[in-house]
Symmetry: C2
Subunit: 251 residues, 2 copies
């Protein structure tokens, strides 16, 4: 199957964020939709290649630039988690409004900060599949403050080595309430999101309909080597093929 690509601008709070909408060609009548959320400091490019592969399988895909990035990079120091969550909500609405998207079959995939946002998004909108790669974790406090401050003003490193019960944290609480399918991917040598954070997400996802937990051997947080990026792509694509089997129409 082939796909088409379209640059889209999505309105959030009187601002615009950029995205790319990828639609299987010929268009499906009831295709799964998948939203991809990059990590802090990234851009839609992080997931564009993977979205192309997944669109070619028969899913409508949307990749976006979160605020504080690319077009609005100058606002990097002031954008808050609340701002970026609003970006995700607006992107979700844009995705399900795309022709042919089956609203009951939406997946959200995110890396690091994007994984954190993806987990929270499941508590606000219907999501069937949640893909988390090295999902970040922050204390709830300071939700509306600039995201960058969390790295200066709190002991984030110590927090990320703690066992955090789901009740204590908005992203883990959302994960604990999530009843869909979860992909959880850890980088073996992650100095930013240590194993303890992944273990917190894993324990939280106790009601998930299925769990696919994998470790990328030798990989660092940002998947700086092509072999690691490619291993993650394989995991993600195979997982989505399994999850959307029977929903993608003739492929």
């Amino acid at each position: 199957m082939s796909h088409t690509e379209e640059s889209v601008e999505i309105r959030v709070d009187e601002e615009l964020i950029d995205g790319t909408l990828l639609t299987p060609s010929p268009p499906a009548t009831a295709a799964p939709g998948v939203l991809f959320l990059h990590g802090w400091g990234g851009s839609q490019e992080q997931y564009l290649g993977r979205a192309r592969t997944i669109a070619a399988l028969g899913c409508v895909c949307l990749v976006i630039d979160l605020r504080g990035h690319v077009r609005s990079e100058r606002r990097r120091e002031v954008v808050s988690r609340e701002d970026n969550l609003c970006d995700c909500l607006a992107a979700y609405e844009r995705l399900i409004a795309a022709p042919g998207v089956q609203r009951s079959a939406v997946g959200v995939v995110g890396s690091s900060y994007g994984g954190y946002l993806a987990a929270i998004l499941t508590s606000l909108r219907p999501v069937s599949w949640l893909g988390l790669r090295a999902p970040a974790l922050y204390e709830d406090e300071g939700w509306d403050l600039p995201k960058r401050w969390l790295h200066h003003d709190t002991d984030l490193v110590a927090f990320r080595y703690r066992v955090v019960p789901p009740e204590e944290n908005v992203a883990l609480r959302a994960s604990a309430a999530f009843r869909g399918d979860v992909l959880l991917v850890e980088s073996e040598r992650d100095n930013v999101v240590p194993q303890a954070v992944i273990a917190n997400y894993r324990s939280a996802c106790r009601h998930a309909r299925s769990l696919t937990y994998r470790v990328l051997e030798g990989a660092d947080h940002g998947l700086s080597e092509e072999a690691w990026r490619s291993a993650y792509t394989t995991l993600l694509v195979n997982w989505l093929i399994e999850m959307t089997a029977g929903l993608r129409g003739p492929g």
Copy 2:
């Protein structure tokens, strides 16, 4: 790839158990080995078809009849967990003695009672991959007593609805210490091994290198319908393909 089959007799405690050894053809020089353990009341037939598929992928496979079954069915009422664990150990030794088996690449797959034994086996022999379908759980007490007595003399049903910490149970303790890859398959409508037991195994497997947790929709404990058996076969085969990728030689 094709495979060859050979009936084998394996000596345990002055008795013989029957098995079938399946070897990829042409034989590999360093093939993964997989041991399959049937549930209580079953036989090697339960896994023979799946073992054929997996042997054809390049794994040496061994299916066995546990004591108290088939040839020694008359001893059904007296065979103990200790007896059957000895069967598993003898079968494990037979598997790794087969030509071409890579001793550092052995998987054990079991259903129900066979899953319980498989979990315990990982604490006694090197195992890389542990496949558990609807694994049973029993209290440790009465280990040497006839297995059948556990269903008469203990409140097994109540026990199986309890949260059991890994420290309290030999199979969960083994699961908690296991560092390899785990496949955990639940039947959605299992009246014998309820969801709580699967949740106990899932929590216990906290150090697993990877976890693949799936629920067979609508399925009963014994997978009485062909669609459920086939769905399980697909999960198991895909998991073993992923786990043994790069180890099976040219396939």
